[in-house]
Symmetry: C2
Subunit: 327 residues, 2 copies
């Protein structure tokens, strides 16, 4: 795989400008998950110990700023989207039988599937209480739709495991799985500050493209990244029966499909090298990178509808960041 076109940091760290806001988001997350019951608190503490990158809260805050300038950012909405994201991770680990999450044993591994089902529901419920508190039913609607679309997509994925989707089916799947949520995070930021419809739609479009780029690149990393740096097994998607874009391209273009499937199934380093050779040879990696970069460019283009600002710059950096992650 060629070097990432944009080295991390070249455009600046997109999270720098929201660092203070994210500290507030984290403090609020602790507040809203405070429990009377010590047993339930144990579960909440466990959830809080594994902290993510807070991409979605950052999008809420940056889009609100980009649309409305330096007014106080919609922290509760940022907290709610992170709670929803946490809920989906907790439930995804049940669906995928995931053992690790954010560098710790997953909740289902640390407790059990039963607790994980309930904890995910609890997080969803807490998020919708907070969203109701905005007094904006539209905000609730956008967030609920995200969950609905993600679940419908994942039910479909679960029932289709092992099948090779078309490129179009793959793109539709990752749209429902990732892009829709990132687009909605941006839309929620804009809605929170009651941005004009054209600004709101541009920010939504930005988030949609960032989400597509993010997931395409994430799926590529699953195949090509150094497993040690990535911190998980290579081709974990494939081994769970989920076919991603590079594999779809390669299977479509090469007579060595059987060989690729065998190599990906082997789960060892020789297999990994053999798979990479086929993915390189067919141009599958190059075209996947191009697809991701195309979405980054479209995301940046969507921002041109907004006035110049520090928040807009940070959103631009964030779009580049997703296809230049150092792992």
């Amino acid at each position: 795989m060629s070097e990432p076109k944009m080295a991390p940091g070249a455009l600046g760290d997109p999270f720098q400008s929201v660092a203070d806001d994210l500290l507030i988001v984290d403090a609020r997350l602790h507040d809203v998950l405070r429990q009377e019951n010590p047993l339930v608190q144990r579960v909440a503490d466990y959830l809080l110990a594994a902290s993510g990158k807070r991409v979605r809260p950052s999008l809420v805050i940056l889009t609100a700023r980009a649309a409305a300038g330096e007014m106080s950012p919609p922290i509760p909405v940022a907290v709610a989207v992170e709670l929803i994201h946490m809920a989906t991770l907790v439930h995804d680990d049940i669906v995928d039988r995931g053992e690790m999450r954010r560098g710790m044993p997953s909740l289902r591994a640390a407790f059990n599937d039963q607790v994980a089902v309930l904890a995910g529901d609890f997080l969803f419920a807490r998020a919708f209480e907070i969203l109701a508190g905005t007094g904006q039913p539209k905000v609730v609607d956008v967030a609920a739709r995200v969950v609905r679309v993600m679940c419908a997509g994942e039910i479909q994925e679960t029932l289709q495991v092992g099948q090779v989707p078309s490129e179009e089916e793959y793109l539709r799947r990752i749209e429902g799985k990732t892009a829709h949520f990132l687009a909605a995070s941006c839309r929620l930021g804009a809605l929170s500050v009651r941005a004009a419809p054209s600004i709101r739609d541009s920010l939504t479009e930005y988030g949609q493209h960032v989400g597509m780029a993010f997931q395409i690149y994430d799926d590529l990393l699953d195949l090509v990244a150094d497993p040690v740096k990535l911190g998980k097994a290579v081709a974990s998607d494939f081994s769970q029966g989920v076919m991603t874009l590079p594999v779809i391209y390669a299977l479509d273009r090469s007579s060595r499909g059987g060989e690729l499937v065998d190599a990906l199934s082997s789960q060892d380093d020789a297999g990994r090298q053999a798979a990479l050779a086929i993915l390189e040879e067919t141009g599958a990696i190059r075209d996947t990178e191009r697809m991701a970069e195309g979405h980054v460019a479209a995301a940046v283009q969507a921002l041109s509808a907004l006035p110049k600002s520090g928040a807009r710059d940070a959103l631009e950096q964030l779009a580049g960041f997703v296809v230049a992650r150092p792992y």
Copy 2:
């Protein structure tokens, strides 16, 4: 166990007066679960095939009518509470490893735990989209709180399996598990028609007591009902490590606690008879019935704040119905 004090039908069928509304609720449930994707539609169809008693939608409609007269009932809210109830059942079957639900294999048994996790989330999301559509953030808040309280209670129950709670702990648990949702269904009915605060609070109190009576009686039936008529194994709560009120009373009062535990663990008819003898002898059954009946009386009392109406009569019947179910 003595005969139920109120034979079913003696006060009339509480569901009769909402029969037409429930047909509309069912039609809307089909509409809101219509899916583009045929695989996801299979899951939705399965969920719809197992129809329940629709207690919560009935409460929404009857309380709205009791508070506001013959205006058109809040069907979307009634649909949303049933979707939330369905979601909790689907997820409860994962938690309890339930094989049967509403006379059919549970969703997790018919598909798998993975699909059941996602389908429950999907139902929650659909419910909150509909609630957002009411334009009343308070309605979203009340519903989200129901889910949060139920989950926190169930997480606690799951982590405490096998322990004998105090009577107070038991009552708090079933409040979170059942009474809070029934109270909220009534509150939502009242909120939907913008009832005066005093009426809204009386209806909430009514629902709270109906919920307590319902769950206490349900837990009693699990121990004393004919397993054939009940359609499930006797003492299924106990065999899952959940201690209910009659058992708590009997263990507290009798020196034959070990014998009771053995009898309940045996899962055969002789064991069932031995357990019943101890539960009778200690007055555990009688006092449990009295507790349930006390809540029915309190529920009916709460209704006295409302003007007389057909809907109020039906609510009164419904309160009696829960402790006189013929199974």
